[in-house]
Symmetry: C2
Subunit: 140 residues, 2 copies
């Protein structure tokens, strides 16, 4: 698939899996919800830490990113018919959003994708992932 | 959920996402199919590199594991009803299987889980992940 199609599929996906590297060098991976937006150069993902439940997991992700901002996200859909498999991988650099303006943009993007956020806005950190490379694969 | 329930859910899952760390310290994450088996101590996952398509991705995973055997797997199911969300994370040590006997055990476990493997046995490397820790979360 083309990069444009890969980004389109990533944009539509309801969930992705985010890999970071812990300070001790071991990998960490969790499912996460995100919104994809157009950026000055390429695309950017936003995700937010919910205020509840305040798990150690959310904090681990933030701690990892502060120590090593390189992250990778995979988006895929599984099917027992393996001729239908595909994935899109987005590699990028993550940073905790510090500007109020950018936080508003991120929350608006998340709100419009996930109805749940309309009733309960995330109160934790917002993280931006500036995508540096797009890789995709399809079995077809 | 208990560790036993987490392992049961992981065992039933048709797909997981596998995170490794590249030699340059960046994370790498891909969807993968696996079979979970009981081991002497705890549990073990097996997955196999298909012979076709012979992607650079499959090789990247193997290269990563040889340089840094620490891996993490996440198993989850997404639902727009966030009260139904859960995940199970398995952290462990990966190694390329070198013994013919263990390769047979692994392929048998994969065969019985995935019908596709009955018609087309993987010919690439088989990798074992010895699980060292189980973490789980549920929104309920």
């Amino acid at each position: 698939m083309t990069d444009d199609e890969a980004i389109e599929r990533a944009s539509r996906a309801r969930v992705g899996r985010l890999a970071t590297v812990r300070p001790d060098g071991r990998p960490h991976v969790v499912p996460f919800v995100f919104a994809l937006v157009e950026a000055d150069q390429g695309v950017r993902l936003y995700w937010a830490v919910d205020h509840k439940p305040k798990t150690s997991t959310a904090l681990q992700r933030i701690e990892n990113i502060r120590a090593n901002p390189a992250v990778e996200v995979v988006i895929d859909e599984y099917d027992d018919d393996w001729s239908r498999l595909w994935w899109v991988r987005l590699s990028g650099i993550a940073r905790v959003v510090s500007s109020d303006d950018e936080r508003s943009i991120a929350l608006q993007a998340l709100d419009s994708k996930y109805p749940r956020y309309l009733t309960e806005l995330p109160e934790g950190d917002v993280v931006a992932i500036d995508v540096r490379s797009v890789t995709s694969w399809t079995s077809r």
